[in-house]
Symmetry: C2
Subunit: 249 residues, 2 copies
Amino acid sequence: MTKVPTSHPRYKSLLLRERLTDGLRAGIAGEAGLLAHGRGEAFDYLLGERTHDFAMESIRMASALLVTANHPVISVNGSTASVAGPEIVELLRALDRLVAEVNIFYYSPERSRRIKQHLKDLGATRLILESNSSDSVQLPDIEHARKHMHPNGLAQADVALVGLEDGDRCERLVASGRRVIAIDLNPLSRTAKTSHVTIVDEVSRALIELTACVRQDLAAAPAALAERIDRYDNADILNRAVAAIRNAF
Amino acid sequence: MTKVPTSHPRYKSLLLRERLTDGLRAGIAGEAGLLAHGRGEAFDYLLGERTHDFAMESIRMASALLVTANHPVISVNGSTASVAGPEIVELLRALDRLVAEVNIFYYSPERSRRIKQHLKDLGATRLILESNSSDSVQLPDIEHARKHMHPNGLAQADVALVGLEDGDRCERLVASGRRVIAIDLNPLSRTAKTSHVTIVDEVSRALIELTACVRQDLAAAPAALAERIDRYDNADILNRAVAAIRNAF
């Protein structure tokens, strides 16, 4: 529970830190997640800790892809579950067909189960899958535990939403023919450059906007969504994100 | 002890992480230190993980100040002790008059003592002071434990070397009339902008160069050191560091 006063000028950033350190203590997030979060904080600080127009454009694209997908899946790791747990649950509420799948680098059955339970404690009512099942399908050329895909989850996915991703896994997901949406604060990362849609924004902030967008798009005309998907240019988004960070200096 | 193979392309960066997570487990570093280290990693990544010419210029200035100081003190916190313990000990070996003082944000007597012991385990033979003594002198306008100065350490210091600093403490140290040398990877931070000398470099890398410089300068002509001190322009250093980071994009 939060101990940061809401009046603090950096309230939101400190709240996210607290969610993550709570996650570390609960055995959900790992130490590497704290280091990665710190790296993300640096980029978010350079972005002025706000959702830019280029991020909103990626979010609208992500929404169109998720709403029109046959089998959309959100891949959840320990850091994302800690930092953006309530926002993930809210997105699951907004989009019935979206499947949540726990997929983690430092795998243990307990940690995977705890992440699942954390989402349930936050109000997720849907079945939540775990990648490391005995009948998992494996992405090629990945040594670590993140290669696993649940046969009813990522293995079937046509659209995968991933936050705080490993570059190699992102590449393999893209190579496998799936449409990949990544949320990544570093527009220069391998994940950012490889994904079809890169949302350069802090993950909890981006998910709130994405959920609002999805709620609207569920009532949108299919032709309008198809046109939005056609028009989208991820290279342009990344260029604009890089320009925004340059402007911080 | 390290488990990272020396052949790994990011060996040095991973070694520092390992030192820090070892420090966390040993009760020396804190969780906030991991987050801060991650932020630093982002800036170091943008700097190409190398010591730039502007950092070398600050290091030479720092060396001249330390060598000519009456009472130079290095302030050591849990993160610096974890990440750069061996390099701090080497600097203490090079400069006899340099006093090391443990000064931490999340103070407990045990943690302060453990940091001291860590430096001794790494080979420090000198007396190491702790800021939080019963007879400490306090910097004004700081609420947290870092306000304390040991009466024979920072309280007497004419030159203070601080790594991974809090902006408010740095400001108070400067306001107190001391010459402050900070090691900070973010050239936009309050610490970077406030200090007399800002070494924009990773702390363990900077300390290795600083120690080499100090060994040379102990034999240098006083007039040459005085001239170097006169010529130094920290605003120019910060501008060049900002330009180097801009070039990463």
